[in-house]
Every structure is written in C-alpha cells, then in structure tokens.
Symmetry: C2
Subunit: 410 residues, 2 copies
C-alpha cells in the first residue's frame, strides 16, 4: 500500500494568525461599533509603482500579439532580469556575480522552503529564535528537524535572539551543517553589522557549513554601515546562499517574484569527501520542478531597476519607514522598549512588566482596538514581546498611536 | 561538514533538446540559406485570448490603486478561481468537487514535481514508457527511483506503450504504490478510453495505490467518449490526484497557472496501518513552501471560464488541431504510420523501415529542413518514432508538409 510521508504528521499546527483572527472576530462580535486597526499584518498595502504598472501593461500587450508573445521562459529567469539584478543589487555594492548565479523565482518562500532538497536529510541545522516558521517546517517535512519535544525540535539548534545579545545569535559551541539567518530580521526588525556577520561566515568556512541568508528586507536598511548582502563579507560566496524577494522591496506580494543567489564557489561534500558545486544541483532542481516565473511578473521586476522605478519604490519604502518612525517615537514616548523599525519594517516591542505576549495582545485589542502579533508566536524566545509592522496606512498608524497612548495613560 | 543530497549525482543528463539544438545549429552553419521549420517544440505560439488580455489589464489596474490592490492571496488560490474550475471543468461533467479540493498553482510542472513529498521515499512506482521526464527525475532526486542500470531505474516499473498495446500500458503483474499516467499522452498523442482507465482505477483500489493523473492536454479531446478527467471513473476520488494546466488549454506557458485536485476521499497509510488524508498534507506543504500564484495570472485564468473566454480558447485549440489534421493527413498520404493528433496536439510518427529516431531526425532535417523530436528521447520504448507538435504556425505547417512530401518522394 502507498505509505504517507509520516514526517508531515509531526508538524505542529501553526495557529498563530488563525488564533489572532479568532480573537479579533470575537472582539468585533461583542463590539460591533469598534473600528479595529491592524498593525499585525505582514503584507504591504500601498499600490505598485507607476513604472511597474506601465511595464506590466506593456507585457500584457506583448502577449496579445504573435510577434511579441512569450511562452515558456528560461526556468532560471530571463537574462535581462538576471543582468539587472547583478548590476543593481550586487555590482553597485562591489559584489561581482554572474547572471548564471542568480535564479529568479516566484517569491522567496518557495526557494527558502525547497532549498533543503540539495543537501542530505540528516544534516544538522541551526535557526535563530524567534523565527519565520518556514525555515523549520520545511525541514520537519523531510525529517531533518527530528522529533518535537518540550517545545523544540530534537535535531535543531536554537539560537536565542534577545535583549542580552542585542538580537544577534551567539556562534554555537558545536558544529552545525546548515544555518538559517534573516537580516534585517523578521520578526525582530533588528539588523546585523558586518563584524557580526563576518563571525558567521568565518564559522561556516571553518566548519564547512552552509548559511541560508534571507535578505528579503534589505531594501529597508538606512544605515550605510549595515550590509545588504552577505556577499559583502569576504569568503561568503563559498558558504552562503542568499534569498531576495521583491515582495517587500516593491510591494510584489501579489505579483510573485524574487530571486536566489547560489555562487559558483559554493560547494558541499559527498560521503566520500568529494566537493560538489550546489548551483548546478539547484539549476537541475528548478528545471525539473519549476517552469519559470510569469513573464509579466518578470517584466514588472525589471521595471523597478529603471531610474523611475528605483525612485518610485524608494518613495513607498520611505512611506512605510515614516510609519515605523511614528510608531517608534510614539511607543518610546510611552516608555515602552522598542527594537527594530530603523532599518526594517518591523518593530519588536517589549511588553510592560513582562506581560506575556498573548495577554498584552488582548489588552491592547480591548483597550485600544489595535491588533499586534504576539512575539511568542515566532518561538519561545519571543515571549514578552509583540511585533508591529509598518506596512499599514499612515492615518491608521497615527490613529493607532493616539489610541495606544490614551489607553496606556488610563 | 554539510553533505550534499547524493541522489542528484545519479540524475542522467538530459540532453534531448540541447542535442536537437546542437544538430540544428550545425545544419544552419553549413546551410546558411536554409529556412528551417520546427515542428519539435512543445510550446504554444498563438497570442492569448482577448478576454484574457482584457482581464490581465484590469488586474494590473487593480494593483495601481489602494482600494483594489491585492497583496498575498490564499496559498491555495483565490476562491473565485477555484469555484470557476469546480463549476466548469467538473460539475459540467457530472463530477462533484468542493473548491477546497482544488489547489491553484503556477503550472503543472511544479506540482507533478513536488507531489512526491507527500508519500514515503521508498514507495514503489510505475511510469509509462515513453514518458515526460519530470515524473522520473523528481523521484530520482528524493531517492525513490533507485539506481540507474542498463538504461532503467532499479525501483521503477516501466510500462511500455507501443503499437502492440495501442499505447495503453498493461496493468502490472505485481503491485506498485504510485502510478504516473498522462492522457491525452505526451509524447504519443494517444488517449485512453473509460474502460481502460477503469482498469487502472480498479487496480489502484485493489492494491491501495495512488494514481498521479496528468490531464494537461484534456482540452484537445474531440471524441465525446474519451474521459477528460479520471474522476469520470467511479471510485477514482479514493485513489487519484489529477493535474491540470492552463498552459496548453489557453496558451499560458508564459503566464504560469494550473491546478491540482486532491479529493477529500484520497488517503494513504501510515506504517501502523492508519489511514491519512493527503489533501491536508498538500495544503500544509503549499502553505509552507508556496505563496500562491500571481493575482494577475489568476485573473487571467478566471477569464477563460467566461462565455467569451471559452469561445476564444476553443478557436485557438481548433487552430492547433487543424494543424494536427493537416500533418496527419499529409503524413498518412505518404504512407507513414501516424498515431495521435486527433484528441491531442502531438503526433507520434513511426519512422519508415525501422529507422532509428535520431537517424530519421537527421534525415528529415537535411532532406526537408524540418525539425522533429526523436521519440527515443522520451524513453527506450520511443525508439523508431518521432514526435511532431501542432503548436506551430499554419503556414509553417503547410510548408513543412510540402517539403516532407517532396523529400520522401525523391
């Protein structure tokens, strides 16, 4: 008889956003007059840049004529897009990559989820805590995470990120094969300096580990000292795969386009000690299980690298970061301890008097009609924090701060 | 040290289309004046339907306003599209499905490639021969196919499809856990009757197997007796997962949208004999490793279910099928044995005098300047055949037939 992959049965139910919705709905049912503002959502709200809209209309028109029709594109993405990425996101920062090292995808979630296919199922892994759940769940599905005991996966090394280490995980005292890092970080909104990132690259070189570096929020970095790419660190090409997304950079959450970089230098070992390049593995994986991203989405992505496109997406990012500033200042004035929100669209707010995350969530919902995301939903190290996002509308943001102020003063 | 997934090293290099391109380029270099016509390509050439173009322009405009902007959609696809699929592709044929049994994707290749994640890596499998390479290669990557010996994978049961069985594979004399079937078939262009398909469903029920049924070409079926969906067979919902694509139905190879059906009734076993539904597994898989298909692509797909959309895609399909008729008649007149091309966009042509596929390919290239795909490229059972596709332009098709006639008569 056909047997199921029983690793799926080990997956913990992730009720975070469902639980939030349930509690918000319960509140709304008993307070039908209330105007609830959500600062919990991780999705963008502002329209796409005009240059992107224009490029997509043109791409749609291409599809209406025999001469300009585009059928199957390269599984790795169109060369014009890969060249624009290499030139603008890397060469402009002194990083030399070939277009063949860039793999265009339909968003970072697919690739961060699928990338584990390239390495043995029993490689050991480390993740920061709190964490974006995909990094762990995708590894539970292939058996790599082990079994779930006392709130943790047996084969996963958790790297707590908290106030005491300024949200920079400590280098483990043992070796691990795979390390997931995300900076600017979701959910804490914190960033990593070149010096701290260098420690990780050196650790990976010394231990022959692979770093899976999620740079989905790099466009929100304002501080010129903070690295946008792990390849700004010498030697990183040997040990790191980097994930980028246009979702937050250009509001593409509904358009679906991103990319993954696997440098030629990146290798891993076979059981008998041979070195093998991983880029050709990924190329083969994509050619077998993926058929490229929509032509229209790729033309949309190309448009954000035009002078107008760049300027327009910069404005939208500035809009969100102004939201972040308003929230940061408002909450700091209220004597709350706030992390993030300066080089990232997320604010990681310490609850007053060590209130548990979920309790504070309810208090704020009932007291100010503002929805946040309880930090503990991202892992045990998130307890006592909430996450706020700056992706909302300006007026909502201002009104939410006014209400929180009124509520906390009462 | 990080260890690679060594199953990737077992993958056979697939040089089929690269080898074709190389030979065609060599010919062109020595015959610069020649006007080579390709009847080998599996990609569509005609523009998208006007209703689809209109829907995509509207969807792009939605993304330009705050009110109609669409960010992350449901990982499973928008309900309006899932409802249109259920109503038009199933209910119209007397098949009752809930929208929750339909999972919208970015094309059938992703899902046929990823679906194997749901079952144990050591389940046994059977495939028809010749075959679309993804079914095997995706299983090589997770170790299920075994090792490659004498042109075959050790853990794969090959089901030859040839003239003697009218391209309908024989039910195996042993049990297998997973069976890949594709009808209308790529590459042979043949179809399966309800009676023959029923044998497979009954085999799967008896042996507790799962059928992966690829119906990507169902829109090309003309004969009212031929099933469009495996769910036309009683009991199939218990044992079959069905893959659909808009790529050939509506020319979406560059738009990227399709869907997979996993009925609620479909279950597989755990090691201790419990039954587990697979639809929730797939739901969890998609929510973890996929973020939905482009909003614009989903609106495009929705448009093909409107009265105008239906009529327009029917016209394009009729255009391709008229190409198929022209080729079929032309080749039959030349006393070639031709299969397919009546309910499918592919023609499977027997080479004269048992000429090997690659030899005939070269002869036709040099003799008529027409490119085909050598049948042996799809598997050993394809030797002595070539595949022609009807996705080209009408004039090319007519001209190719004229040249082949002249060449074969000479």
């Amino acid at each position: 008889m056909a047997l199921v992959n029983e690793h799926f049965l080990k997956l913990q139910k992730n009720y975070l956003f469902a639980d939030i919705a349930k509690k918000v709905n319960a509140f709304k049912a008993t307070h039908p007059e209330a105007n609830v503002i959500s600062l919990g959502i991780g999705d963008v709200t502002q329209p796409l840049a005009p240059a992107v809209i224009q490029a997509m209309h043109k791409a749609v028109d291409d599809m209406a004529t025999k001469e300009h029709f585009h059928g199957y594109g390269p599984e790795q993405g169109y060369l014009w897009l890969r060249e624009a990425i290499v030139k603008n996101d890397y060469l402009a920062r002194g990083i030399h990559l070939a277009p063949s090292e860039v793999f265009v995808n339909d968003g970072a979630k697919s690739d961060t989820g699928n990338i584990g296919e390239l390495v043995r199922w029993d490689n050991s892994m480390a993740v920061s805590d709190p964490i974006y759940p995909v990094y762990i769940d995708s590894n539970v599905m292939n058996g790599r995470a082990g079994v779930f005991e006392n709130g943790k996966w047996s084969n996963v090394t958790y790297l707590p990120c908290n106030e005491s280490n300024q949200f920079i995980p400590q280098i483990p005292d043992h070796r691990v094969d795979m390390i997931y890092l995300c900076y600017p970080n979701n959910p804490t909104g914190t960033v990593i300096s070149k010096d701290e990132l260098r420690k990780w690259v050196n650790y990976a070189i010394k231990n022959d580990s692979i770093i899976f570096y999620d740079a989905a929020y790099e466009a929100y970095i304002r501080d010129s000292e903070i690295p946008h790419s792990i390849y700004e660190i010498r030697g990183a090409k040997k040990v790191a795969i980097e994930f980028h997304s246009f979702s937050k950079t250009a509001g593409f959450t509904g358009v679906r386009c991103g990319y993954t970089v696997i440098p030629k230098e990146l290798t891993a070992a076979t059981m008998d000690g041979k070195r093998v390049e991983l880029a050709p593995f990924w190329d083969r994986r994509q050619c077998t299980k993926f058929n490229g991203t929509s032509y229209i989405s790729q033309r949309a992505a190309e448009a954000i690298y035009t002078p107008e496109g760049k300027e327009q997406i910069k404005q939208t990012i500035a809009y969100y970061m102004e939201n972040a500033r308003i929230m940061r200042e408002g909450l700091t004035e209220l004597r709350l301890t706030v992390y993030g929100g300066e080089n990232a669209p997320y604010l990681w707010v310490k609850t007053p008097e060590n209130t548990p995350s979920w309790k504070f969530f309810e208090q704020m919902l009932y007291g100010a009609q503002v929805v946040c995301t309880p930090g503990v939903g991202f892992g045990l190290a998130g307890e006592g924090f909430i996450r706020l996002t700056s992706f909302g509308d300006r007026n909502d943001c201002i009104e939410a701060m006014r209400r929180i102020k009124e509520w906390l003063k009462a």
